[in-house]
């Protein structure tokens, strides 16, 4: 499409739909649900961009990707250059193209959004990242000469990987310490294969390793070495991106029955340990026939769709508010519904009942109605007295969020945390109360999104670079 189109003509171009696996088919396998745009589709979608001078989409993006810039490169069919354009500010385009809530960030502010549907920025991001990787066009970026400064990154989730990528490019020596045996953090243990294939996360980590980042997996900071010991080992600055890894439970009777998992455990078994492929992999997982997942976020959607793929006859989302208040992405709710997930809204469990082996058999629930808005601005659910009823369940997954893991705060004197245990940082620099120690991602914000964590890693890297060059003498 070489000819120049007028904005009105661009608005007439049909918005592209991503092909995906049929819901009936995919609810039985762990393969990725959407296939990605074809090249032809990507070219059509790219033509929809008005390339508006104000580019509100860029401001909508937590890491300020030059969105019109990369879309113009797609029009020129220089997909690898488009991918590199994204990577100037976002190290993880193949990941973000899949799991970012674009509809609330860059796409919602697109001028086309209201009347025509926004440009599918997320789809295009995914397209160029996949194109680059699948065609072996990934090139290592230029790396500044060694500065002689050493950085330790604790945690290899989106915040840590992003900080590592930025700092290595600036010439610092970077080591990532990961507690689990594979890098990627929540991208590996939390998000299922059908939403984010693990080969993609591995490719992102391999890319960092090729740039010179050293990965030390299976190393639990706070147990093996403390933050202070990392300084003694010669690291000049430290970034803490350990995530929100302490699962919340309901605190109701019967919660320790067998067959009641935290979402972390359920998803880690299936994703990291590949229990869905038992007995080829050794880690077992309970296959429920009637599965209730408690919660309404993306994690709950991931868990309930996993349960379906593991053979559930009935897979329920049990959520105490209404669909409108659900924190999950619309796309995830839509996918879940297509696959046959049943939503039990305005419902809260109050008790779990088990058999003599201590396995969960049923869940007593109470119906709720929405009252006045609470502190979060969402209408508060209020129990309807006498509305109790019992659901038959043989597997329950509690996906109501995480608190912050105290392993590092507890072993780091002088590291200030708020009352929820989240590390307190300066919002601009991500500097903690300890000199040379920065933090970002869920350990600072509590459970949030991949891209916000990546954005925090980015901010921290910028400030750490300044600190390393100005205050650390070599």
């Amino acid at each position: 499409m070489a000819k120049k189109l007028k904005p009105k003509e661009r608005m007439q171009i049909p918005r592209q739909k991503m092909p995906e696996q049929d819901p009936k088919e995919r609810s039985k396998n762990f393969k990725e649900v959407p296939f990605g745009l074809t090249e032809e589709q990507a070219l059509i979608e790219a033509e929809r961009c008005l390339d508006c001078p104000k580019a509100p989409c860029v401001k909508g993006c937590p890491v300020e990707v030059d969105i019109p810039g990369f879309i113009m490169l797609i029009r020129e069919k220089d997909y690898a250059a488009a991918a590199r354009k994204i990577k100037e500010t976002n190290s993880l385009p193949a990941v973000c193209g899949r799991v970012c809530p674009q509809e609330e960030q860059c796409e919602i502010v697109c001028p086309l959004h209201k009347n025509y549907g926004s440009v599918r920025i997320g789809y295009l991001e995914r397209f160029v990242a996949d194109y680059e990787r699948d065609n072996d066009l990934v090139e290592l970026p230029e790396i500044a000469p060694p500065t002689g400064r050493k950085v330790a990154i604790v945690g290899s989730g989106p915040a840590g990987l992003t900080a590592a990528g930025d700092l290595i490019k600036l010439g610092h020596a970077v080591t990532i310490f990961e507690a689990l045996h594979k890098p990627g953090g929540v991208l590996v243990y939390g998000i299922p294969e059908f939403r984010l294939p693990k080969s993609i996360v591995q490719a992102e980590c391999d890319f960092l390793a090729d740039m010179g980042v050293e990965f030390q997996n299976s190393t639990v900071i706070g147990k093996m070495d403390t933050i202070d010991e990392l300084f003694e080992m010669g690291y000049d600055a430290i970034f803490i991106g350990t995530g929100a890894g302490l699962p919340n439970f309901m605190g109701i009777p019967g919660e320790n029955l067998i067959g009641i998992y935290s979402a972390n455990e359920y998803l880690t078994r299936s994703n990291l340990m590949r229990a869905f492929d038992f007995p080829n992999y050794d880690t077992p997982i309970i296959h429920g026939k009637n599965v209730a997942v408690l919660g309404g976020g993306n994690t709950a959607m991931d868990a309930v769709r996993t349960a379906l793929r593991l053979g559930a006859n009935n897979a329920y989302i049990v959520y105490r508010r209404s669909e409108k208040e659900m924190p999950a992405r619309d796309e995830e709710i839509h996918h879940a519904k297509e696959e046959g997930i049943q939503f039990r809204l305005l419902t809260a469990p109050i008790k779990f009942l088990g058999n003599s082996d201590g396995r969960v058999q049923a869940m007593e629930c109470i119906r709720m109605e929405l009252g006045e808005p609470d502190a979060s601005g969402r209408r508060r659910p209020v129990p309807i007295e006498g509305s109790n009823y019992t659901m038959e369940v043989d597997l329950v997954v509690v996906g109501i969020g995480n608190s912050s893991n105290p392993l590092i705060p507890k072993t780091t004197p002088g590291l200030k945390c708020n009352k929820w245990g989240n590390i307190i940082v300066d919002e601009e620099t991500m500097l903690t109360s300890r000199k040379g120690v920065y933090a970002g991602g869920d350990i600072v914000t509590g459970g949030a999104t991949v891209i916000l964590a990546a954005g925090a890693g980015k901010k921290a890297a910028r400030a750490m670079h300044k600190y390393l060059m100005e205050e650390v003498k070599k």
Partner: protein
């Protein structure tokens, strides 16, 4: 990858493995545990520390062949490697001078109680050690315990060696004889820890037990290792593994440890059926209770 220095059969189904992990060993203390993964497809299994050789940076674990993963562990030769050995995890055992301290090791628990016995002794306690197993062939570490303990009692359930009876019988006799014990640490099968805890509760002697429930990450992230202590839910991986034996809900612990009974049996069957499996001849030993 962590190198296996030694992996020897000590008795029927009990093996001892020495793993070279110098950084971990430098930090580890008595009462902590590690998580092992044998290979890429392997589970993450928690293992109590049964010895720390700080000089060569090696860790000893003693394990019993009960299922696929422990069976697989026996196949790693000296000089071979594990995929991962992660730790030290959990809180170290609480150690102080109580005057007289007593450690009780039952079955496989004879091993992890040994470094704690050493620590109690080093803290200046008079140390009483009681160790026991089903029969003489299953006993090990007697020399090690003898070298540390001021008084050592050995017993077997079938009377084939030492005192005929359970570790709890010996402990009861000591308490009945009026021996003043400031602290007891009991490690072994859940029924043994339960019996010891029930006993010492009536004598009002503080008693620690070390719990080893199923877990994945070992850092507080999954909550699979939930235990109930005095009615409150705790995570054994970060809050334990040592807990007040008088507060532990042993019923819940027993049930939760059987959560994957069927899958474990299936995995073991498959493993034993593989061509050339050396353990296949012992298949009847692995008959899981139905």
């Amino acid at each position: 990858m962590p190198k296996v220095l030694d992996n020897v059969q000590m008795s029927d189904l009990i093996w001892k493995m020495k793993v070279e992990v110098p950084r971990l060993v430098a930090k580890a203390k008595a009462g902590q545990f590690v998580i092992l993964r044998v290979n890429e497809e392997g589970e993450r299994v928690p293992m109590s520390i049964a010895g720390l050789d700080k000089e060569i940076g090696a860790l000893t674990i003693v394990y019993q062949v009960v299922g696929k993963t422990s069976a697989l562990m026996t196949t790693v030769p000296a000089g071979g490697e594990l995929s991962d050995c992660i730790g030290p995890l959990g809180m170290p055992s609480h150690v102080e001078n109580w005057g007289t301290a007593c450690v009780v090791g039952g079955g496989i628990g004879i091993a992890p109680v040994y470094p704690i016995a050493q620590a109690y002794k080093e803290a200046g306690n008079k140390l009483i050690t009681i160790m026991g197993s089903r029969s003489k062939e299953l006993l090990f570490y007697e020399e090690e315990h003898k070298a540390v303990a001021d008084e050592l009692y050995v017993c077997t359930d079938d009377g084939s060696y030492g005192h005929h009876g359970f570790v709890s019988d010996v402990l009861k006799k000591l308490l009945d004889d009026g021996v003043k014990i400031g602290m007891i640490m009991a490690i072994g099968p859940v029924p043994m820890m339960r019996v010891v805890s029930n006993l010492t509760k009536s004598y009002e002697v503080p008693t620690w037990v070390s719990l080893n429930p199923l877990m994945i990450d070992g850092t507080g992230m999954c909550g699979g290792c939930r235990v109930s202590i005095g009615g409150e839910t705790k995570f054994a991986c970060v809050d334990g593994p040592d807990f007040d034996g008088h507060q532990v809900d042993f019923d819940l612990l027993t049930k939760r440890m059987n959560a994957y009974h069927e899958q474990e049996r299936e995995a073991m069957k498959r493993f034993l059926a593989a061509p050339g499996c050396r353990l296949a001849k012992d298949v009847e030993k692995f008959s899981y209770p139905d």
